[in-house]
């Protein structure tokens, strides 16, 4: 059975609405990527060096990053030789298989670490403008839907309007926001929020932080302190540290993941703005080099356009047209 068939069977078990969201959210990404892919395959009858060179370009155009692409291409080249693949069309499923394989090692790793009988604390970190506050709003909505009680901590005390922005999200979703004045110490806000969360016995505490560029040493230290305060008050918290990453970001995302991990021990990535034409391929490099899994993806502006990341869904979203195309072919041959 071909990889696409397997992929399809696996996801038909999941709700259609989820698949639909991935498909719609990724439609722009897919259109450009797949049309290029089809174009590439149709122009090259045989798998030769030039084919691989163009494939290299295609993957680079998805921001996968030079090193990861080179390694992937080498892998494919070897595999094509071993399996004696000559037709460009036959190598397509191999490409997506390799991609999915690199993104996800097992199914459980993409789930958020949520405590059942005690409070779960999630810390959101990232550079400026990636969508931390919006992502928190969406995550809060999700937990609320699951029937959990949620509290927000307005830890971005620096950017003008950030506290209001989180509060508006809180009101929208129907959860409270613990806040202090603009300019106050973010660690103090966290301390307050934890005390409030404890006394109210909420299930989930979501902590916002100010966006900061990873090369600002003092700001990274401030972030370390914020995390330290949380861990001091609740020993195994934060249970998740999510690095929010803008899908349009290029190679710098790797440096972001590295530096934020050093400071706060990042446990997962929330990849935002995937509903544009950007592909966020740098998550492949991050997975390869730092072994940080993607946990959430933002696929739109709506409150429930945040999904748990699923590599197969993601690759399916990227290659949906190819899956259907291949099926047509198979039907043709069987008749």
């Amino acid at each position: 059975m071909s990889f696409f068939k397997k992929l399809k069977e696996k996801i038909t078990g999941q709700t259609d609405s989820v698949t639909e969201k991935f498909k719609n959210g990724l439609s722009k990404t897919r259109e450009s990527f797949v049309s290029k892919m089809n174009d590439l395959v149709s122009r090259y009858r045989t798998v030769d060096e030039e084919f691989f060179e163009e494939l290299e370009d295609l993957l680079i155009s998805a921001d996968v990053g030079v090193n990861t692409v080179m390694e992937l291409i080498d892998d494919l080249r070897g595999e094509a030789k071993r399996q004696n693949i000559k037709d460009a069309k036959d190598i397509q499923p191999l490409i997506s298989e390799k991609l999915a394989e690199r993104l996800q090692k097992d199914d459980s790793e993409n789930a958020l670490n949520v405590k059942e009988d005690e409070m779960t604390v999630i810390l959101f970190v990232g550079v400026n403008g990636v969508g931390k506050t919006t992502t928190i709003g969406k995550v809060a909505h999700r937990f609320k839907e699951e029937g959990k009680s949620v509290l927000l901590a307005a830890g971005d005390t620096f950017r003008a309007g950030a506290i209001e922005q989180l509060s508006v999200w809180g009101e929208r979703v129907g959860v409270d926001t613990i806040k202090q004045q603009e300019g106050s110490d973010p660690a103090a806000v966290m301390y307050d929020a934890i005390q409030a969360a404890k006394s109210r016995q909420v299930d989930v505490l979501l902590c916002d932080t100010a966006g900061r560029l990873q090369n600002k040493v003092n700001l990274m230290k401030e972030l370390e302190k914020v995390k330290r305060v949380i861990s001091r008050e609740i020993p195994d918290a934060p249970h998740e540290v999510l690095l929010v990453l803008d899908a349009t970001t290029g190679q710098n995302a790797l440096s972001q993941a590295k530096t934020f991990s050093e400071a706060t021990d990042v446990s997962g990535i929330a990849l935002t703005k995937l509903d544009g034409t950007a592909k966020g391929g740098i998550v492949l490099a991050i997975r390869q080099e730092l072994d940080i899994p993607v946990k959430l993806v933002g696929l739109g502006e709506g409150m429930d356009d945040l999904q748990t990341f699923d590599a197969e869904q993601y690759v399916h979203g990227l290659f949906a047209d190819l899956v259907n195309g291949e099926e047509d072919d198979e039907e043709e041959t069987s008749t």
Binding site: K28, S32, D57, I60, S61, A62, D63, G65, V66, V127, N128, G129, V130, G131, G137, F158, R159, A160, G161, A162, E164, Q165, S167, V168, W169, R172, E182, L213, Q214, N215, K216, V217, N218, D246, T248, T249, G250, Q251, N252, A253, L254, S255, K258, K273, D275, G276, T277, A278, K279, I282, E301
Partner: protein, 448 residues
Amino acid sequence: MAFEGLAERLQGTLDKIRGKGKVTEADVKEMMREVRLALLEADVNFKVVKQFVNRVKERAVGQEVMKSLTPGQQVIKVVNDELKELMGGEQSKINVADKPPTVVMMVGLQGAGKTTTTAKLANHLRKDHNRKPLLVGADVYRPAAIDQLETLGKQLDMPVFSLGTEANPVDIAKQAMEEAKANHNDYVIIDTAGRLHVDEELMEELENIKAVTEPEEVLLVVDAMTGQDAVNVADSFNNQLDLSGVVMTKLDGDTRGGAAISIKAVTDTPIKFAGMGEKIDALEPFHPDRMASRILGMGDVLSLIEKAQTDVDEEKAKELERKMRSNDMTFDDFLEQLSQVKKMGPLDEILGMMPGANKMKGLKNAKVDDKQLAHIEAIIRSMTKEERDNPSVLNGSRKKRIARGSGTSVPEVNRLLKQFNEMKKMMKQMSSMQKGKKKGGGLNLPFM
């Protein structure tokens, strides 16, 4: 820095060439491969890279590189020249309408930094051009976007026009024009909502705002960390709105910023400004030539020099220099120097701008701690006037007192004394080296 610059990348190939009599075409090909990879790692769009490398290759295979005795430097020079040419000259002027007010529209993706840049630009127009801008909050979608602009307006003490989040952005823009005319504002800067370039409905809204305000400038605000997709974004915005310029934001980060090249190549629109920090005055003219060397990983010497020139008090610098040369520098002078350096910004930022700083062994991963500076300051401030003028009087008990007074330890005091003496020695050597040479500029900072 996560990625190697072009110079480091070329090193391997150059090592091979060294010792060979001449550079072959195969060598050039290999070098071009390194150029390609360096540019791709800097996030320059792959199509742009392809065209670019072909151009460089033509020049390289033609006489310039192959006949050169220093092929590596020649390649870098050719790449640098071509990059500079591609990036065009400096154009940081904001157009002025024949009849005021001049309208500037800020557009871009979500999170690029439009609102912050709007405030920075207004500050720039007032400070450097004596203008009286009106800020317009037309982002009715993102929660608290208008609050953000209003807070920034308050900080700047500048008027912000908005009609709340229920109003239509086109109406807001229209009424803002009336408001500006009534209040004699000569500039109107419209902060629009972030949107995806593929969102047809919202892109149309921008076209409508443009139609009713007839802006002199439509500025695309782009995050410098943007990857390969920058070309799609810039192309869509340019096709629909006919951009007049670009502002690159977050350039104070450690990204190479190859998106700048992609955007320039695709839109042929000048990049006018660079966002260099979170403070409201952190907007600088965009220097294409410096961007070229940044993308190639060659440091930003010029920026550093300029930063030093604007931030350091020239009089004091001259006096310091005189003292350094005459070798009668005291701890008070040293303290003065420290405060000058501190004015230039966080130390790691300054280091990041020095070429080769990321190559120096100890410095490669050095996180410069500004707190150390604070310690040094505390130690010096705990000294008496006599001790500062003549550090040789410092004995054990004096050192103990200083350590206690500054909250540090005797070893720390000793370390500072040693550094200070070494610096003095170095200064002496340097000034004797310079003797006879004509003196230009006049900057001697402890780290240079």
